[in-house]
Symmetry: C2
Subunit: 297 residues, 2 copies
């Protein structure tokens, strides 16, 4: 297979590179912990170390936080609604010291009815690469879960839910962590948490306290409490987001296999029909953007 | 004025003692940082150090975490609904080495429709001491805010909201704190946060992210962000709790003056009619319980 471009999915904590054909088929993948935090101030060196031996004549297209103000060069946010043409029309680029041109995909911004902004960077590329559903919701769970509403192949709007980061902060830095023991997943406790979280997302500041009282009263064992709290937060997120996006029918989850499975289970408990999208959506999206920008021959 | 009893409001981080008449009128107050955490293992010594010089012939009645499993002696939780008679009928007691009898007020427990328990300890005594409204909701804000539904002078049920502790964890241990500068209250940002939090408490995991984006886009200054986040959480709490308790008319707030004022403002923004109760509710409650238990002549 002929290598047509190098795609970079370069985020806060992880660097991922793909040597790929113009249809997004992957020839080789490399990954390292040289995210933009670790590689700050030496982006070109990090790039060369990882993929300096790959063909130098093919274009390089990068998405993720590498295109932010804290990254290599800023590709300003593109306002929603945005589809392939708006995104491909707003690329930033630079030429490295060794004379190589690198193109950066912009993140997206949107604003809710109250004028409060929200932002994504990298997720727009994954969604463009996974457009199994031209209409519906996309969910990219994680530290900051992103929900995107897609309409006619374009990203209409999106919302960030701080589910993963809130879970970590509650567990490590509040009274809720005191009774916990960490011993892997407890499916039953997770299910109970999801049900309760989804039944009353507006009561979240109250329902999380149940993680303590159920432990105090011995209803849940210490090793079940982390799963219960995780379920509460994920159930709240899914109930709120599907209500907000008016989409309980077509949710596509993009994530690593284990995280996608966790959210797929939670969606099923919440009565939300979800399917898991491809894991290589980023490189497919980078290929689509590169073709739309006429970077590939 | 004749001293009829010693009342102790002995919580996790604070020890408060009142030398008082049988109607709850306070003759003298003492306060120290010898809460049950600091005084663990030496409760009698801490008591003697603080109030050993007070009359030894009057009864001592204590409420708060001192009556918990981590305290001096456990006064088991009394189930809701509970009024003066149930609480006064469930006192625990011990005799100190020096021969003094100390009586402990039980905390309350309740269970929601899903069987998830909740607990309070100390707040029941304050509410019994502040029964300006024999019907309505009582709000005791703080690290763990407590909302109590009172009906005919009895505590029907209650719910804990982890508002204060979640605020502290989000500020110190998530990305939300990164852009913040701490410089006292910003009334306008607080108001905006309350409005947004109250408008959609179910979206809390999403709306808190606005604390970051409003800072990133320069809409809110770094020193306004703590007030905005505080407003978001308090607005969410008030909207959810008043909806859950079906009580937007008669909310009585019991707290220190500054915290009560903060919540009273937030209630007004949310369209909730709240009044601030007396600051000495604890000692009035202890006096009522002591009289009901026939400890006072």
């Amino acid at each position: 297979m002929k290598a047509d471009f190098i795609g970079l999915d370069w985020g806060t904590t992880t660097f991922r590179a793909y040597l790929a054909a113009k249809d997004g088929s992957v020839i080789e993948t490399r990954q390292s912990a040289d995210g933009i935090l670790a590689a700050a101030g030496r982006f070109e060196q990090a790039f060369d170390e990882q993929v300096g031996d790959w063909p130098s004549e093919v274009p390089v297209v990068a998405s993720g936080m590498i295109g932010s103000r804290q990254g290599w060069i800023e590709a300003p946010y593109c306002p929603c609604p945005a589809g392939l043409s708006e995104i491909a029309g707003a690329l930033a680029s630079l030429t490295t010291k060794s004379g190589r041109r690198i193109v950066f995909v912009p993140g997206l911004s949107c604003s809710d009815a109250n004028g409060v902004p929200d932002v994504i960077r990298g997720e727009e590329t994954q969604v463009l690469g996974a457009l199994a559903n031209a209409n519906g919701a996309y969910l990219l769970p994680g530290t900051h879960s992103k929900w995107l509403a897609v309409n006619g192949g374009r990203i209409d709007r999106f919302a960030t839910y701080m589910t993963g980061e809130v879970y970590a902060a509650l567990k490590a830095h509040t009274i809720l962590g005191r009774l916990m023991r960490e011993e892997g997943d407890d499916a039953e406790a997770f299910n109970a948490g999801v049900l309760r979280g989804a039944a009353a997302p507006e009561l979240l500041l109250h329902t999380i306290f149940g993680t303590r009282t159920l432990g105090l009263f011995g209803t849940l064992a210490p090793e079940a409490l982390p799963s219960y709290l995780s379920g509460l937060l994920i159930g709240s997120e899914i109930a709120a987001a599907t209500r907000d996006f008016a989409s309980k029918e077509r949710v596509t989850i993009l994530a690593s296999a284990s995280l996608a499975e966790r959210y797929a289970k939670a969606c099923a408990i919440c009565g939300v029909t979800a399917s898991v999208g491809p894991e290589n959506a980023a490189v497919t999206g980078l290929a689509r953007i590169a073709r739309a920008a006429e970077l590939l021959n």
